[in-house]
Amino acid sequence: MKQTEQNNEEILSLANNLRWDLGQGFHDQLMESIFANATTIAQRSVTTSKEKPLFSFDRALDRIVTSPVFGFPVMFIILAMVFWITVQGANIPSEFLASILINDIHPALKSFAGSIGTPLWLSGLLIDGAYLSMAWVVSVMLPPMAIFFPLFTLLEDFGYLPRVAFNMDNLYRRAGAHGKQALTMAMGFGCNAAGVVATRVIDSPRERLIAIITNNFSLCNGRWPTQILIATIFIGGVVPAELAGIVSAAAVVGIAVLGIVFSLVVSFGLSKTMLKGEASTFSLELPPYRPPRILRTLYTSLIDRTIIVLWRAVVFAVPAGMVIWLVANVTFGEESIAQVFINWVDPAALIIGLNGVIILAYIIAIPANEIVIPTVLMLTVLVAGLTGVGSGSGVMFDAGSASATGTILAAGGWTLLTGINLMLFSLLHNPCSTTIYTIYKETKSVKWTLVSTFLPIVMGIVVCFFVTQIWRLFAGA
């Protein structure tokens, strides 16, 4: 063994000596010789027709979508169209699913449980807690995802995403981050955990950390439904009905863009403080546009993304549903645990324009952002003491349509301000537990995991506070 070690060291020292003899320039020389060899071989076998085509579709399109003038407007319009189609298209299937899963199957399950003599606490825990939360997640999430993901994947297949990165690159570089962060940000729009893994394409550890910490500012699919629903109720609600769809889509785009702005600002801040350094250069290849294979895209985006993401949501929703049922039904003196907590947090939450219900919902929903809205609704009913909607307290129910949901929320004391703050808080809060775990696995550092977790919450509280104070100053409320 000793002998081997010695021989190894001999190899290395010989390499050192030879390297010394060769001098500095030989790496470049080596690269040049690779290029020269490639050129020679390519010239022998490739023939390009001399006549240039008069019109190149790719080049003409690139001139528009990556132009300094039209690039960003085109980007916003395309995003807005995707959301508008999602908002408009998801409503009807959502109601359909809700009416089957909640209005038909839920009572049937209850009466069946009653007929075989299941104790109330057990049927409450399993049917009113676990089953209903799952039913809610399916009916609220499946339709928008089944529309949004294929549309997004079609854009990706067509080759639009690298153009987005191309447009954004300059901004990120000026923020002291890596241009490829634009790509990982785009991945984050699907799922932050996937976006965090995708930062592996960034070579420099400093820039990679920045990309990981700021990925949470890309709205992930778990938060899209919250954004879309709240925008439809509160922002769509204050404009004439025929404009509601467009205005709510624009509001969602606004939040998404705000997320991009935050990711730039935070990247800038980090690169000037905790993660100082220069931005490194890289080359970004704009791939040719390719006609998307529509059927194949539908298949993969439904299987790869929709079903997998939905499954994850269901897996997290089932235990969360039980927790909700428990906190709403286990009493602590006169009041349920949920009630006690909400009353305790309410004064502080109101200062930042939210309420105790929202805070509790976000704590319960740490495993999955998708179940925030169902939890909020259930808790609101409990606190406002509404009767005659859903199935009573402690039951997560479906409000059927956006307007019915709005009625409940209004009864719970919600205003336009609460809606706006919820949208902001949904953008700016801790990543879900899967993402936190992924960040830990990727960074192997407790410190950076904690920074990525708590930085957005602090920002969310600060932003909501200022929005609320300024709003109250002007509205006088």
Partner: protein, 276 residues
């Protein structure tokens, strides 16, 4: 010439017409006879080729860098079982970024029986940079010249026979998105893996005399210590360049136990794939 080869697809009497012989095994690859690595520049369709061969539905995307970790799958062809590994797309194997290291370490330490390099026919010259670097590491490779449909659209013609003769490895024109050329590709993989086709890979010309003699000297010494290494010249070159991970591999003796390293990489990769 290239179109000729594609038309063979329709010819049932031809020996490459082997549709019935391909069995897609998905991720079921418990024991295998050969390991195939899939390398190439970003966005050339590696994942599409991978899916075509394994029947898996790994998500493909039209943007560079979507495969960050390795994906693995299996297929059976002519009674041999193949394990195929989809490596991250890279422009070179020389720098130290994670994706390039994953690709390079697998080709070097994983010792695949065949390395399939997927190249974009419309950008052959740039793609050849990677091809030449792969051929420095391994002797057994197949060039899958993908996106032939796009090349045709852009009026680019590639003389496949000349290219194959120059590179010394089989060159198969394909249109992976349309599943065209896969049979010929499979056949070539099989021939190279089983040793029926002996590659005579192109070795880079134009290195200076001093460099050549330095590589020669160092390579002799490495061969003495590690007689099983097939690419001692390449290792020597990397040592001369001061490549830290190769220096470490020599220092710890990892270079010698290629089999063990191979297993270590696989476990490591599996762990990092859990994160996805």
């Amino acid at each position: 010439m290239n179109t000729n080869k594609l038309e063979l697809n329709n010819c049932a009497s031809c020996p490459v017409h082997n549709v019935g012989n391909l069995k897609k095994l998905g991720i079921n690859m418990s024991d295998y006879d050969y390991v195939v690595a899939l390398a190439g520049n970003p966005n050339t369709g590696k994942s599409t080729v991978f899916n075509n061969l394994t029947g898996l539905k790994q998500h493909t995307g039209n943007w560079p860098g979507k495969t960050v970790t390795r994906a693995e799958g299996g297929f059976e062809f002519n009674d041999s079982k193949f394990k195929i590994v989809d490596l991250p797309g890279t422009y070179s194997l020389l720098s130290a970024s994670t994706d390039e290291e994953v690709a390079r370490d697998f080709i070097l330490f994983g010792q695949p029986d065949v390395t399939v390099i997927v190249a974009d026919a419309t950008r052959l010259e740039r793609n050849l940079n990677l091809v030449l670097q792969v051929l420095e590491i391994t002797d057994r490779a197949v060039l899958c010249l993908n996106l032939m449909d796009e090349a045709r659209r852009n009026k680019i013609e590639v003389d496949v026979r000349t290219l194959s003769k120059d590179l010394g490895i089989p060159v198969i024109p394909t249109e992976a998105r349309q599943n065209i050329g896969m049979q010929e590709l499979l056949n070539s993989i099989n021939e190279v893996a089983s040793g029926k086709y002996i590659c005579k890979p192109y070795r880079m010309k134009g290195k200076s005399k001093e460099l050549n003699s330095a590589v020669e000297k160092l390579s002799q010494k490495i061969k003495l210590e590690y007689p099983n290494i097939p690419n001692s010249n390449w290792v020597a070159l990397r040592l001369l360049e001061g490549d830290q991970s190769i220096i470490d591999a020599v220092r710890t003796g990892e270079l010698g136990n290629i089999k063990e390293v191979k297993r270590a990489i696989t476990e490591d990769e599996l762990q990092s794939e859990d994160a996805v």
